[in-house]
């Protein structure tokens, strides 16, 4: 019996040769770089743009994250930018004309100690004041939302309640990247893969382009969206960033029947779990402690998060680990990102999203594009400038970033 192979899908983007000069060059073809190019082209009328990616498109953290989207952060500055992103997520499937399986199945952030309870209740109140949907739910309500969660009192760290954000959820990350890449390409953006930026072209203190493995490329303005590699680029440009690059790992099980209706995160036993559309359980936890650019971490970190998951979900004890992997995340001292001008004219920075920047993708695109186009920080990005490390106006989100993501 002769089988014909399925039609190769239409190419979603061209693979252009880089031109010698652009109005704007974005370094890094992950979610943030693509979203920034999309808004530069669609909202700021700049069409002569290149996104330069050293590997393949969206093969960095964009391909490796566990896709949790939520906006229930503590401080006003954070609620503003993450909620801006969430509202854009709600529009994107239509706007980009691409069903990337954005599923608003809600997120439970569990509390297991009295301090957890106090912090969570405080965060719910702060969220409400900021117009973010949030509720404090008691253990019985938690059990109703997620029946497979062990809410009995008879555990080492009983669930004392949770914060609940119904509009939170997950999306299919690679499809998000493809949706953006297709739209950028339609708008005339050059998406250039296998083009590592190795240095900067400068005219005094002004950046006028980039040096790449495929030759120099001049640019009116340059935006950095290189996630884990941001320090390496900053060093090449001649300044320092207060970020550290760490491995962050995640894992999936085999495909299972749908059993897990929402997203559950626990800072205290330190794991988070959702179930992807295809059926695999998606688990993650914290970073490996040491700095590394290897895109891999240590196996005890994985063991720890599995132990925590089974504590919370006894039903998962018979599931198997199918795959584990790691990304390189750029972590800031206050668990908040850096967005804004750099010490060099013409060069703009977006980095430090650490373990939680996927959810911000549309928000980053919109505020970073504005920042680059206008030459100064978007109002939502203003608190996120590098100056905060000198003024001391940190935006400490260690609580809400928690197990991260």
């Amino acid at each position: 019996m002769a089988h014909t192979l399925p039609e190769h899908p239409a190419k979603l983007w061209r693979n252009p040769e880089p031109k010698r000069s652009y109005d704007v060059v974005i370094i890094g073809g992950g979610g943030h770089g693509l979203a920034t190019a999309y808004y530069l082209a669609s909202e700021h009328g700049i069409r002569n743009i290149a996104v330069l990616e050293k590997g393949w498109l969206a093969g960095g953290n964009m391909a490796r994250n566990t896709t949790i989207i939520r906006s229930n952060y503590l401080w006003d500055e954070s609620a503003a930018i993450y909620e801006h992103a969430l509202k854009l997520w709600e529009r994107w499937p239509d706007e980009l004309d691409y069903d990337f399986l954005f599923s608003q199945r809600g997120v439970l952030n569990l509390a297991h100690s009295l301090q957890d309870v106090r912090d969570s209740v405080r965060r719910v109140s702060a969220n409400k004041l900021n117009g973010v949907d949030a509720e404090w739910v008691d253990p019985d309500e938690v059990a109703k939302i997620c029946p497979i969660l062990n809410t009995s009192h008879d555990t080492r760290y009983p669930v004392l309640g949770a914060t609940w954000q119904p509009r939170a959820g997950i999306a299919k990350h690679d499809h998000v990247a493809w949706a953006l890449a297709r739209r950028c390409d339609q708008l005339g953006v050059d998406l250039v893969q296998n083009c590592e930026v190795t240095g900067f072209l400068k005219d005094g203190d002004r950046v006028v382009g980039v040096q790449t493995e495929r030759g120099p490329i001049r640019a009116g303005r340059v935006g950095m969206a290189a996630a884990g590699y941001s320090s390496v680029l900053a060093e090449a440009a001649g300044f320092r960033l207060p970020v550290q690059s760490h491995p962050l790992q995640a894992l999936v099980s085999e495909l299972l029947e749908p059993v897990h209706p929402t997203v559950v995160m626990s800072n205290h036993v330190h794991v988070y779990v959702s179930q992807a559309h295809k059926g695999e359980l998606v688990l993650g936890a914290g970073i490996d402690a040491y700095n590394s650019y290897t895109q891999r971490g240590s196996v005890h970190t994985i063991e720890h998060q599995m132990a925590a998951a089974i504590e919370l979900f006894p039903i998962f004890a018979s599931a198997h680990v199918l795959r584990t992997w790691g990304g390189i995340v750029d972590v800031c001292p206050d668990a908040s990102p850096i967005i804004g001008p750099s010490p060099l004219e013409g060069l703009f920075v977006n980095c430090g999203w650490g373990t939680g920047g996927f959810k911000a993708t549309p928000g980053v695109g919109s505020v970073f594009a504005h920042t680059i186009a206008m030459g100064k920080a978007h109002p939502l990005a203003e608190p996120y400038g590098l100056e905060r490390f000198t003024t001391g106006a940190l935006i400490d989100e260690h609580g809400a970033a928690g197990v991260a993501h």
Binding site: V232, R240, L241, P242, Q244, S245, Y290, N291, T294, T390
Partner: protein, 90 residues
């Protein structure tokens, strides 16, 4: 899992150790005269190279002593370990 050589106890598994980040970061020598920019550097800025990195480890489940190591962050290979007070190996 990294295999780490404590300069006192020899090779042990990573789970016995605590990580301490960049080594050789000095406390400002004249705190009262140190300006905001220098404090920011001391408090929040650390090197983050893709390559050899001098860093601190503590043998938490062993001798509980701090020591320094140079590790290549591109491969995780330890290039050398040395005791506090000893100079960084070339």
């Amino acid at each position: 899992m990294l295999l780490i050589e404590c300069p006192w106890c020899g090779q042990r598994e990573e789970t016995e150790f605590r990580y301490g980040g960049q080594a050789h970061v000095d406390y400002p020598s004249a705190p009262a005269e140190t300006g905001d920019t220098e404090w920011a550097e001391f408090l929040f800025y650390r090197d983050n190279p893709a390559g050899p990195f001098a860093e601190r480890w503590m043998h938490a489940a062993g001798c509980r002593r701090w020591f320094n190591a140079v590790r290549d962050t591109r491969t995780n290979e330890f290039l050398g370990v040395y005791r506090i007070g000893e100079g960084q190996p070339a």
